[in-house]
């Protein structure tokens, strides 16, 4: 055989072998993404993107498309990385999300849960710190990265301005113009949103984050006056006019604007109750790299601005405003918050929940 050709053949063969070996180690061997606590630890963002694409799928849970603009976030992620997203149980509660961690390949990879559920389930999460970790305030994250706040909002009273007079205080709702009109967006004995609505009513009526009884009493009065509608408020009930006044997170209330153009949101200045949700990664995520890429996407400027567009307040908003990367038009559309917000702690929420569970149906049923 021609020596020269032999050399070239061996060189070509060697190159192929080396490239194949390198290719396989970078996707299957060297980096176990389920153990990585940051993108840089696993070899950088490019390695993460490649690993995620190799996994090809991501499973999320309890993310309705009109909740804080998640519909656009999911399609944005799909378009940017070409990774398929399976969206489980869109109406699920935070507890449902954690209950779905069953160790099979169909379990969710990431969750977006309320504070109480996040705190109670840290053993099921894998620690991870996104690139923008330092932008998240200390009180809004768990130190090693087991959970971290993503967006939040304030409890507000949304109303159809053509059906009821403008609301200037929570006590207005006791008036006769509000007969059979006031509803909650969830049952306070099990829904985080419902409970915060009652807490807001309590604070506005002389109670506090530690005393939710005034809120329960307020709804009892509403019921006695015939103003309370015990139907769960949804987009359909708002559009059909069954629940023209609705206690709801302000970013969720904002989504009704497309069905009812005259929808307005009122946040009482003496009772600004804030609530933040938290991201966490399943310790046994079937697609660990895709899960971590999702988190990076959510905390990137693009992701945070999409949440802003949905009417929510992303956790990096202050930092982004200072850096000029925030979506100014979306930020301007947020309801004005005339005062200092109060955020119930885990303990305060539990205590309030216990009181409500024991006393709610007696008050309003």
């Amino acid at each position: 055989m021609n020596w020269h050709r032999f050399h070239r053949l061996v060189f070509a063969a060697a190159t192929v072998i080396v490239v194949a070996a390198c290719g396989s180690t970078s996707t299957a061997g060297a980096t176990d993404w389920s153990k990585q606590t940051s993108a840089s630890g696993g070899g950088g963002m490019d390695a993460l993107v490649a690993a995620a694409k190799a996994e090809g799928k991501l499973t999320v849970i309890a993310l309705p498309p009109d909740w804080a603009n998640y519909g656009a976030i999911i399609s944005g992620f799909k378009a940017k990385y070409g990774i398929d997203i399976t969206s489980l149980n869109p109406n699920g509660s935070s507890q449902d999300e954690v209950n779905a961690f069953d160790g099979t390949s169909r379990a969710p990879d990431v969750v977006d849960v309320g504070q109480a559920v996040a705190l109670a389930n840290t053993a099921k999460f894998a620690p991870y710190q996104v690139k923008e970790w330092n932008d998240i305030p200390g009180g809004a994250k768990e130190a090693t990265g087991l959970w971290y706040n993503d967006y939040g909002g304030y409890m507000g009273i949304g109303y159809d301005s053509t059906k009821v007079p403008a609301i200037t205080s929570v006590q207005d709702l006791l008036g006769s113009a509000f007969k059979s009109k006031v509803a909650l967006a969830g049952d306070p004995t099990k829904s985080n949103q419902g409970l915060n609505g009652v807490i807001m009513a309590s604070v506005a009526n002389g109670g506090s984050l530690d005393d939710v009884s005034k809120g329960v009493d307020f709804f009892k009065q509403l019921k006695q006056k015939g103003n309370y509608v015990p139907v769960v408020g949804t987009a359909a009930t708002v559009k059909s006019g069954q629940t023209p006044v609705l206690f709801e997170w302000d970013y969720l209330s904002a989504s009704h604007g497309k069905d009812v153009p005259t929808w307005k949101i009122f946040v009482p200045s003496n009772a600004i109750i804030g609530g933040y949700y938290s991201q966490a990664i399943n310790k046994q995520a079937p697609h660990p790299a895709a899960a971590r890429l999702w988190e990076e996407y959510l905390y990137s400027d693009e992701g945070q601005n999409l949440w802003l567009k949905g009417g929510a307040r992303p956790v990096r908003q202050a930092v982004m405003t200072a850096a000029g990367t925030v979506d100014a038009t979306a930020a301007a559309k947020l309801p004005a918050v005339p005062g200092t917000p109060q955020v119930p702690s885990g303990d305060q929420t539990s205590k309030a929940s216990q009181y409500v569970v024991a006393n709610w149906s007696a008050a309003v049923a």
Binding site: G92, G114, V117, T189, G226, P230, S240, Q242, V356, S361
Partner: protein, 292 residues
């Protein structure tokens, strides 16, 4: 095996007979009894992880009792009314052409609607007779106020009415085979003995159909007892019926999730239906003695 030579009764049939039910029991054992056992095991675990009956003690609270009575009330009323109206509708269908289009479409519609429930059923009713519903407004325009003493629609009566929506079709579907079994000879026999329609129904067809009727009513009771999706969508008033309590205890996101108590409640529900079933069995034995 010579089938003609083998008697149907007597002989060494006992051990072999049991083989016939083995597949059923194996299947049910794995997929129903085992999960029930898991629920039972879970109900015996207290929140701190120890084995105790504390979860059952947790049922002993005022708002739980209220849920119990609420559930019993709704289930009894909707099952009895659903059985009566369903039997009437089934009769209207059974007396028509068995191959006709009317029967087919009513059966198919019943099959679909019997499983309909949840948020959309609630919405449909609220859109019809809720305070903004078009039937309510139509009646109001003509001077008829549906809710003179407060909106009963949002209380148990309203929930019962909504439950009838799937109880009646269920009754139609499960009761019609019994009506199909009515023979013209019974009617002829009654008439040839000088009886009229009243005699026929009171002494012949009624007693013959009663055991099936009772069994179907029991099914409707259990159906209503465990239904929660509809109530869940309608009521934000806490756990006014038991299934809502169970759901709240399993899926609450406000930190009051308590799976042990939920399982204890589920077992309590099974116990209630067991009691109802015993009453039903007693009634059945009394009324069908002469049939067997």
């Amino acid at each position: 095996m010579n089938a003609a030579a083998r008697p149907l009764g007597g002989g060494r049939r006992l051990p072999l007979s049991w083989l016939g039910v083995v597949p059923f029991f194996i299947y049910v054992g794995i997929f129903l009894l085992l999960p029930t056992g898991i629920i039972l095991a879970g109900s015996l675990v207290a929140p701190d992880g120890s084995i105790s009956l504390s979860n059952f003690a947790g049922i002993n609270q005022p708002y739980m009792f209220k849920s119990f009575t609420g559930s019993l009330e709704i289930s009894s009323v909707s099952s009895i009314l659903g059985a009566i109206f369903g039997a009437l509708l089934a009769y209207a269908v059974a007396t028509g052409n068995p191959k006709g289009f009317l029967r087919r479409s009513v059966m198919s519609a019943a099959g679909v609607v019997a499983q309909f429930g949840g948020v959309t059923l609630t919405f449909a009713f609220v859109a019809t007779i809720g305070t903004e519903g078009f039937v309510y407004l139509w009646l109001k325009d003509r001077g008829i106020e549906m809710y003179p003493n407060g909106v009963w629609f949002f209380d148990l009566p309203g929930l019962t009415l909504i439950y009838l929506y799937f109880q009646i079709p269920l009754m139609v579907l499960v009761f019609i085979p019994a009506l199909d079994g009515i023979r013209p000879q019974w009617r002829e026999a009654t008439e040839s003995l000088g009886g009229n329609a009243w005699h026929y129904w009171r002494y012949v067809a009624g007693p013959l159909l009663f055991p099936s009727f009772l069994g179907c009513t029991l099914l409707l009771f259990a159906n209503a007892f465990s239904a929660y999706a509809t109530a869940n969508a309608l009521l934000t008033q806490g756990g006014v019926i038991l299934p809502l309590q169970v759901q709240a205890l399993l899926t609450s996101e406000t930190g009051s999730s308590s799976p042990g108590l939920a399982k204890a409640l589920a077992l309590a529900m099974i116990a209630v239906v067991l009691i109802v079933m015993s009453v039903y069995a007693l009634l059945q034995r009394r009324t069908s003695q002469w049939l067997r």
